[in-house]
């Protein structure tokens, strides 16, 4: 397609702040804020170019590798040394007969999930009264997004827990497919995203 439109790179008061550009590029911008800045993004070559450039940079394997690396060994060392000392102390203080379940301790517990696992709704459901997902170790906040079949966001909210009530004000069309996902905030700088799950409301009388 031919695109030789005259463009301007003038900074305007509507131009996006760095954190909004960053959130846009990484796909974490809250849906309501995204909706409010879309008209500007659609017409501002400067902001759109910045988001596109940043998205390309984030997709660069070298950048992506650095974005995904664990905290440096120095940090782990600082945490690991006191933990090891505490473990040794615990061993020294406990006697062999203290544990009533000694001998057979059962299978080890499963490792904590690193991304949320969506529980319900999944598949065909009679109604959607709430959304549920699994706990993620260390997560202090969850962001839920429900999409319609065209990719439009029909519901988005944040919650501190692993369940959120689905509001009556959001109407779901019976028979239509919806997708949803959950992002778990696991640290100052970290979010873990679930797989997408699909559901459909079977009944026509209720969302």
């Amino acid at each position: 397609m031919l695109d030789t439109r005259v463009r301007s790179e003038t900074v305007t008061p509507d131009c996006l702040q760095d954190d909004v550009i960053a959130a846009f590029a990484e796909g974490s911008l809250a849906p309501d804020l995204r909706a409010s800045v879309l008209p500007h993004m659609a017409t501002c070559v400067r902001c759109r170019g910045a988001v596109a450039s940043l998205a390309r940079a984030l997709a660069d394997p070298a950048v992506a590798r650095e974005l995904s690396v664990a905290p440096s060994g120095r940090r782990w060392y600082r945490i690991a040394v006191p933990l090891a000392a505490a473990a040794v102390l615990l061993l020294l203080l406990s006697s062999p007969g203290d544990d009533p379940s000694s001998g057979h301790r059962g299978p080890p517990p499963p490792p904590p999930a690193t991304t949320p696992v969506l529980r319900s709704p999944i598949g065909v459901v009679a109604a959607v009264r709430d959304l549920r997902w699994s706990h993620v170790a260390g997560a202090d906040r969850y962001r839920v997004t429900v999409f319609d079949a065209t990719g439009g966001v029909v519901y988005a909210a944040e919650a501190p827990d692993t369940v959120i009530a689905f509001p009556d004000s959001v109407t779901l069309v019976a028979g239509a497919s919806y997708l949803w996902k959950v992002d778990a905030r696991t640290g100052f700088d970290r979010w873990a995203t679930s797989e997408l799950a699909e559901f459909r409301v079977a009944e026509s009388r209720r969302r």
């Binding site: 439109r5 990484e26 849906p31 659609a42 759109r48 910045a50 940043l54 997709a59 440096s72 997708l179």
Partner: protein, 261 residues
């Protein structure tokens, strides 16, 4: 909470900086290397980035930490800041003289295009009109488009690579020009350009952005889906297909033929 943040909040700026740099040095380097390939340039930009991030008692880092709510990951925000600093550094350092050296090996017409687009920051249509009115009155717009594409390809292969994409004012446009420039005349192109702008304006902002990012910026559909909060690439394909059909319909109604697009 990260240790460098804790140190920053305690007012221990040197310790905060050391911890910050210890953790993010490699990311900063990777971000700079994405835009610049030359070793000396990378080192100089890194020094400039450190200077800027450390300025005014770590003002940039403090302003991030003190925000009540963070919209993006810190590391993504950091890459955003590094990108700005890198682009600014090249603009400031290169200026006209050094950038001109990039174009030294180009044929005269491409060198002129380079000067107008990259140095004078003219739009593509403005560049054509100036060249057409001056040194090349017989140059058709079709020929210009071919030369423009070749200019972009030539300079992007150089040591500066990706940074030139960000230094050009209309960096996204040339990649969408036809491979075989058998398009319309200059006047027709200018009119089509306005018609195209009008047709895009009629799209819903999100649909327009899908077209701009997926078709014009050539971002992968998966990336566009992520940026715009769409569930998957298929949503991008579907919506861009529908939006482009609307654009074509508008243009055809205005008399622009399908083969001209």
């Amino acid at each position: 909470m990260d240790e460098w943040v804790a140190e920053l909040q305690q007012g221990r700026l040197d310790a905060a900086w050391d911890l910050f740099l210890d953790r993010y040095r490699r990311l900063i380097f990777a971000a700079i290397r994405h835009y610049a390939q030359d070793y000396d340039d990378v080192m100089d930009v890194f020094a400039r980035a450190c200077e800027a991030l450390r300025a005014d008692d770590l003002r940039r880092l403090r302003s991030w930490v003190e925000q009540p709510e963070h919209r993006a990951r810190f590391s993504t925000w950091l890459v955003t800041v590094v990108r700005h600093l890198t682009v600014d550094w090249f603009r400031h350092r290169d200026g006209r003289r050094r950038l001109s050296a990039v174009a030294e090996g180009l044929p005269p017409l491409r060198r002129r295009i380079f000067e107008l687009v990259f140095l004078d920051r003219r739009s593509h249509i403005e560049a054509y009109e100036l060249i057409h009115a001056g040194e090349a009155p017989t140059l058709t717009f079709r020929e210009f488009l071919g030369e423009l594409r070749a200019t972009y390809q030539a300079v992007s292969k150089g040591r500066r690579g990706e940074i030139l994409r960000d230094l050009a004012p209309t960096s996204d446009a040339v990649e969408n020009l036809p491979a075989d420039p058998t398009g319309p005349s200059a006047t027709g192109a200018a009119e089509q350009s306005q018609l195209m702008e009008r047709a895009l304006t009629m799209l819903a902002p999100e649909d327009r952005l899908i077209v701009e990012l997926y078709v014009l910026e050539e971002l992968p559909a998966e990336t566009v889906a992520k940026v715009l909060g769409l569930p998957n690439a298929k949503a991008v394909y579907n919506r861009s297909y529908r939006a482009l059909a609307l654009v074509r319909e508008q243009l055809e109604r205005a008399g622009v033929r399908r083969e001209d697009l």
